[in-house]
């Protein structure tokens, strides 16, 4: 997966994500958007799959947006032990949905995502509705290892996460971070909007008309792209991607 939160030159926060996973054709066919409503009003919206009740991508209108990127650490039995022994540990996708439902501010969402015990490690990428509200939370099972925030005043106008800790180099055979950074820097802060975020999420390595088969922002595993902006909830949309035509 690749998730980006960026602040444009006017201070608007944009959040884009590609969800990459195996079983692409299966997932592409069952991808849906869900508006969770109470008394006829949308409390929150998510991109999900038929049969999946948690959330891996979602927006609380005018408050915040959340995406989940996989973080693979430890062994399967560590997840099982956490599930069996820690009654307070939550499933990742359930925590996201509960946060969308119950957290009323960006800061509350960050705290909840950072410090609720989880069964599995994960990266939470969070965007807000106000300037400088953007963060990547690197989660271990018990708590946050790191909260990396946007800092536009010092030139960090976007944060991005793929599937590796941001303080370490990604492996050479799966370096989607570098092409994403390059595409963002080429676009520039003044050029950021819903359309350019989609274009960044669609970047593929090309040599002339030939698309090269190396890991990239848009890749064989990309099942959908979602673009959100908490301050402009109507912008939220999701497109199923068929990178191989």
């Amino acid at each position: 997966c690749t998730s980006i939160v960026a602040q444009d030159a006017k201070g608007t926060i944009w959040h884009g994500r590609n969800l990459d996973y195996g079983f692409g054709d299966f997932l592409r066919n069952i991808t849906v958007m869900l508006d969770f409503q109470t008394k006829g009003q949308t409390l929150y919206t998510s991109t999900s799959y038929l049969g999946y009740v948690g959330a891996l991508t979602g927006q609380r209108p005018n408050k915040f947006t959340i995406t989940v990127d996989e973080r693979d650490q430890g062994a399967w039995w560590m997840n099982a032990l956490e599930a069996l022994l820690n009654k307070k540990a939550s499933l990742v996708s359930f925590l996201v949905r509960e946060t969308l439902a119950e957290a009323d501010t960006y800061d509350v969402a960050i705290q909840r995502l950072a410090y609720t015990p989880l069964i599995a490690p994960v990266y939470f990428i969070v965007g807000g509705a106000n300037v400088a509200e953007g963060a990547v939370i690197t989660r271990d099972r018990e708590s946050a290892l790191d909260i990396w925030t946007m800092n536009p005043a010092q030139g960090r106008w976007f944060v991005l996460e793929t599937n590796y800790d941001h303080w370490e180099e990604p492996p050479a055979d799966d370096n989607r971070r570098m092409p994403t950074m390059k595409a963002m820097n080429t676009t520039g802060q003044a050029g950021i909007n819903a359309s350019s975020m989609f274009q960044v999420s669609s970047t593929r390595p090309q040599f002339g008309h030939v698309v090269l088969s190396v890991p990239h922002v848009l890749n064989k595993g990309t099942t959908y792209t979602a673009i959100m902006s908490a301050a402009q909830p109507q912008v939220y949309n999701t497109w199923v991607r068929w990178p191989e035509g």
Binding site: V32, D35, Q37, L43, V53, E70, R71, S93, T225
Partner: protein, 101 residues
């Protein structure tokens, strides 16, 4: 072929078992269910470590004890309206947490 996805309303004022009924009743979705049943089995076999499956059986037998609402009720509702085995619905919903290691 970048296709915008279909959008559904989930009425949180209804019982959890009914949250996903409108989606289940959509003819486009009904058409997908036989494929979903087959692909779900393939996905489960490929993704989930064999050692974990007995744990899922324990969990499914007493869903309300292990999973909070509205999630347990929603999974039961989805199993009822799609005809997919509840255990398989549960495993698919645990997929991230079973495979992130």
């Amino acid at each position: 072929r970048d296709v915008p996805v279909k959008r559904y309303v989930v009425n949180l004022d209804a019982a959890p078992e009914e949250h996903f009924l409108p989606m289940c009743q959509d003819p486009d979705i009904l058409e997908l269910i036989p494929m979903l049943k087959k692909d779900a089995k393939d996905m489960i076999t490929s993704l989930v470590p064999e050692e974990v499956l007995p744990l899922v059986d324990i969990l499914t037998a007493d869903l309300d004890q292990y999973l909070p609402q509205p999630f347990a009720g929603e999974m039961r509702g989805i199993a009822n309206c799609t005809g997919i085995d509840l255990g398989e619905i549960v495993i698919l919903n645990l997929a991230y947490d079973l495979t992130a290691f």
